[in-house]
Amino acid sequence: MKLIFELGTDGQGTDLLPECDVPKADPGPFARSSAVRLPQVSEVELSRHYAALARRAHGVSDGFYPLGSCTMKYSPKINEELASMREFTGIHPLQPEDSVQGCLEVLARCETMLCEITGMDSMSFQPAAGAHGEFTGLLLIRAYHKSRGDEQRRKIIVPDSAHGTNPASAAMAGYEVVNLPSGPDGCVDLDALKQAADEKTAGLMLTNPNTVGLFDRNILDITKIIHDAGGLCYYDGANMNAIMGIARPGDMGFDIVHLNLHKTFSTPHGGGGPGSGPVGCKASLSRFLPGFLPNPCGSRYSLKRPPNSIGDVKAFYGNFLVVLKAYAYLLELGKEGIPEAARNAVLNANYMMSLLKGHFQAAYDRPCMHEFVITLEQEKKTSGISAADIAKALLDHGIHPPTMYFPLIVQEALMIEPTETEPRETLEEAAKVMNQILDEAQKEPSTIHLQPLHTPVRRLDEVAAARRPIVCYEYPQE
C-alpha cells in the first residue's frame, strides 16, 4: 500500500483551527524559511489510510497471541472508557494539589494494592516501562549502598537466562554485570551463585518464575546468599502473572520489584507502548524512590518527594492513564479475581503444553508456570525446520507466533504464554494447528520455508534493511 506521503497533493488537507483573533506576532529571524514538509491529504483519504493500516495490524482482538514473556491477556474495554474520561485526561500535571485529588487517589490506592500483591512497602509509578523500572531499581540499589558508604559494590549478578534488558539496565546504572550460568533445569546454580556473591556484589536481578517458565524452588536460599553477601535482590516482574495472589516477591526475599502493568495488569500494549513499569521496594529503601509520591494527609493527599530520592526518571508522575487502567483492573478482579487469574494462567499453559506433547519437544519436561518453552533443536538438525519456520507458518492461520529464540539458553526456542483470558477452545485449536504444521513440514520440509503465503507481505529481508538502512521516506525530486 501507499505511504501517507504518496497520497494527496499540494494544497489538500482540512482546516481545523480558526483564524487567529489577535494580532500576529512576528518571529523575525527565528522564522523558518520554508514550510515543514508534511502530508497534504484530505480527511477522507487519511481515514482510509489508517483504516488500511489497521487492517494490516494484528492485536489481541484479532486472535490468539501466545507471545511468551509478554502476557498478551485481554484488556477489558471498560478500562479504556474510564481512561478517556475528561476528568482524568483534562488535568494538567502542575495543577494545584487540591484540584487533582482524584488523580492522587488513583495513584495512592493503586500503590497500596500493588504493594499488597508484591509484598513491598512503597512504590513509584514514574518508570514508563519494564526496562525503565529495572534501571530505576538498580539506581535504588546504588543509592542504598552509597548511603551506607559501601561504595565498592560494583557488580550485579544476572543469570544467563535473564531478559536482555537486565544486563543492559545494570550497565546503564554503571554496574559491572556478572553472568550467572543456569543449571540444567534452567534454574539458578546455587554453587555458582555462592561463588559469585561477595563483598563486591551490589545485588542480584532475577525473575521467578524464571524465563523458561519454572519456579525456582531454591528461591529463599538464593536471596539469602545475596543478602548474606551484603547485596540486595531485585525482582524482574515480567513474569508476575503466574503467582499474583499465590506468592509474593517480598516473601521470597526480594527487596525491589518492578511490575509491567501492561503485562500482568492488563493495560493494552498499543503496539509497543505506552506501558508502565512501577518500582516497589521494602520500607528500608522507600526514601530513595524517584518522583513525587502521594501521601495521605487527613482526608486528602499531598505529593511528596522521598527524602533521599534518586531524582526523576521521567517528567511528572509516570504514565498516569496507564496506571488508571491497571487500577480499574485491580478493582474489577479484587482479592478473589487476582489469584484466580494467576491459577488459570498456569492451568492454560500446562494444558496447552500437554496438547503439544508428542509433537513438540518441551525444553524442560515438567509442569510449568504461566508459560513454557519448546525447542526445535532436534527438528532443525534432522529436517531443517526451525523455530522461525513454525512461527512464520502460524501467521497464515491468524495466530500470533510465540516468542522466538528466547531465552538464549534454549536452542531454537519457542516460548508460549497463553494467559488466563484464553478459552479452552482457542488453546485446542492453536495446538491442533501447530501440530499439523509440524506434521506437514516433516512430510515435506521444503514448503514451510516459503510460508507465510497469505499475509499482506511475505518474509521480509531484514539483513538488507540493516545493511542499507532506509529509515525515513525520501520525497521524489521535483
Binding site: Q40, A54, A131, M369
Partner: protein, 441 residues
C-alpha cells in the same frame, strides 16, 4: 466479580485432569510452602463493571477540570482533532504488541516509519527513532548517546525545563557522566559562560528552543560555540513551535529531542506522553530505541521491519548503550496522525496562534501591572513579576476562583504564563480583568 477468565469451573477441572494434575494446588507444587501466601490478599472484593465505572466516576469528581488554562511548563493544552482520537483508538492498534512479526504488523510498522519521517521533516534531521518515554527521557538518552571515552562531561543550560534537567541528572548519575550547568542570563543561556567552557572532555550541550522561560535562544551562536569545542549540540524543541520557527537542523544541531505531547495528546496528569529523538545520519547507529526501516519481501514487495537491532539490548545485553526496548508506539501514532491531519498549513496556524495569543496576553498583563521579567523574543510562554503588593499565590487563587488555571508560580512573585490556540481573546481579556480587580481590591 469480573475476572475475565472465560473457562467455567467445569472446564477448568477437565483441563486440569487432562494436563495430569489432581487439583489446582498441584499446579503450584514447585512453590515451597514457606514462600506461598497462605492467606487471602488484603484487597477489596472484585467489583462488577458497573460498580467500577461509578467508583471511578466518583474519583474523577475529585479532580477539577479547568475550562481556562494558561499553564504550560512542559505540558500543553492544544486542540486535538477528532480524527486523531478516532484513529488511535482502533482496536488492532491498541491491543497489538511490539511488531516483532513484521508480516502481520505492517500497519504498525508503516505508521512508525511515517512517524519517523515526519519527525525528520519537523526537526530537519536525517533519522528518527520510533520514540522514547517522554521529552525528559529523550534528553537524557541523547546525552548518554554523546558520551565518548574521552568526552564524558555534558553541559546543560540552566534555562531548560526542570523535569528534563532532573531526569538527565538521574541518568548521568547512573552511568557516571559528569554534568555541569551553564548559567542563564536574562532568561537565556549565557553565551559567554558557554564560550568559556573547556574544550577537554566536552561531550555535548543540551539547550531548549524555546527554553523553560519561553525565550528563544540564539541557537546559531550556540551551535558555533559547541561545535568549535568538538562537542555535540542537543536541541530540545517544542514541536508545535517548529510549524513556524527554525528547526534544529536549520541551526546545525546534531540531535533534536522534545516532548511530543503537544502533538495530539491530552494533558492526562502528565502521561502517557511521547519523547521524540532524531539525529544526523552519522549518529544513526548510536541512536537508542526502536527504529523501523524499509525493506522488501521475497516477492520484492515493499515492507517494513524493526531494524538496526544490533544496537539493542536483547542482542548486545550489557554492551548496549541503552536498555530501552519499547517505544510509545500509540503516542507516536497519535503524533503522526496529528501532524498528518493538521498538515504544514495547520501546524503553522497552531504555532502562529500560540505565539500571537501569548504576545497579546503578555501585553494585556503588562497593562495590568504584571511586567515581563526577561527581554527578547519568546514563543508562547513568558515570565512576569507581580505588581507591588501582590503575590503569585494571590493572583493565582483569584484566577482559580473564576475557573482559570493561571500560569505556573516560579516563586512568590514570578509566574510563568502560557497561551495556546485554545485561548480566545475574550478569555484572555477576562483573565486580565480578574487580575486588575485583585490589584484594585
Amino acid at each position: 466479580m469480573g475476572s475475565y477468565v472465560p473457562n467455567t469451573k467445569k472446564e477448568q477441572e477437565e483441563m486440569l485432569r487432562a494436563a495430569g494434575f489432581s487439583s489446582f494446588d498441584r499446579l503450584y507444587d514447585d512453590i515451597p510452602a514457606d514462600v506461598r501466601l497462605n492467606r487471602e490478599l488484603k484487597l477489596p472484593s472484585g467489583l462488577s463493571e458497573m460498580e467500577v465505572r461509578s467508583s471511578l466516576e466518583e474519583t474523577g469528581k475529585k479532580n477539577h477540570v479547568f475550562p481556562h488554562i494558561f499553564r504550560g511548563a512542559g505540558a500543553y493544552r492544544h486542540y486535538i482533532p477528532a480524527f486523531v482520537k478516532s484513529t488511535v483508538s482502533k482496536e488492532a492498534f491498541v491491543t497489538a504488541y511490539t511488531p516483532y512479526q513484521a508480516e502481520i504488523s505492517q500497519g504498525l510498522l508503516q505508521s512508525i516509519f511515517e512517524y519517523q519521517t515526519m519527525i525528520c521533516s519537523l526537526t530537519g534531521m536525517d533519522v528518527s527513532n520510533a520514540s522514547v518515554y517522554d521529552g525528559a527521557a529523550a534528553a537524557a538518552e541523547a546525552v548518554a548517546m554523546c558520551r565518548e571515552r574521552k568526552r564524558d562531561t555534558v553541559y546543560v543550560s540552566a534555562a531548560v525545563q526542570p523535569q528534563a534537567l532532573s531526569v538527565i541528572r538521574t541518568y548521568c548519575a547512573g552511568n557516571g557522566i559528569k554534568l555541569v550547568l551553564v548559567q542563564e542570563k536574562d532568561g537565556r543561556t549565557d553565551l559567554e559562560a558557554l564560550d568559556a567552557l573547556p574544550e577537554e572532555a566536552f561531550a555535548c550541550f543540551y539547550v531548549q528552543q524555546p527554553n523553560f522561560y519561553g525565550c528563544l535562544e540564539d541557537c546559531s551562536a550556540i551551535a558555533r560555540i559547541v561545535h568549535n569545542k568538538g562537542g555535540k549540540l542537543i536541541l530540545g524543541c517544542n514541536p508545535i513551535s517548529l510549524g513556524i520557527l527554525k528547526s534544529p537542523g536549520d541551526y546545525g544541531a546534531d540531535i533534536a529531542v522534545g516532548e511530543g505531547q503537544p502533538l495530539g495528546m491530552p494533558l492526562s496528569f502528565g502521561g502517557p506522553y511521547l519523547g521524540f529523538m532524531a539525529a544526523r545520519k552519522e549518529l544513526m547507529r548510536r541512536l537508542p530505541g526502536r527504529i523501523v526501516g524499509q525493506t522488501a519481501d521475497i516477492d520484492g514487495k515493499r515492507g517494513f521491519v524493526l531494524t538496526l537491532q544490533a544496537r539493542e539490548q536483547h542482542i548486545r545485553r550489557e554492551k548496549a548503550s541503552s536498555n530501552i526496548c519499547s517505544n510509545q508506539a500509540l503516542c507516536a501514532m497519535t503524533a503522526a496522525a496529528y501532524l498528518a491531519v493538521m498538515g504544514a498549513r495547520g501546524l503553522a496556524r497552531a504555532a502562529e496562534s500560540c505565539m500571537a495569543k501569548a504576545h497579546y496576553l503578555q501585553e494585556q498583563l503588562e497593562n495590568a501591572g504584571c511586567r515581563r521579567v526577561h527581554q527578547g523574543p519568546y514563543f508562547h510562554e513568558f515570565v512576569t513579576v507581580c505588581p507591588p503588593g501582590l503575590s503569585s499565590p494571590q493572583i493565582l487563587k483569584a484566577l482559580e476562583k473564576q475557573d482559570f488555571l493561571g500560569g505556573l508560580p516560579l516563586d512568590d512573585s514570578r509566574i510563568l504564563w502560557c497561551a495556546t490556540e485554545m485561548n480566545t481573546k475574550t478569555e484572555i481579556d477576562q483573565l486580565v480583568q480578574i487580575i486588575k480587580e485583585v490589584a484594585e481590591a
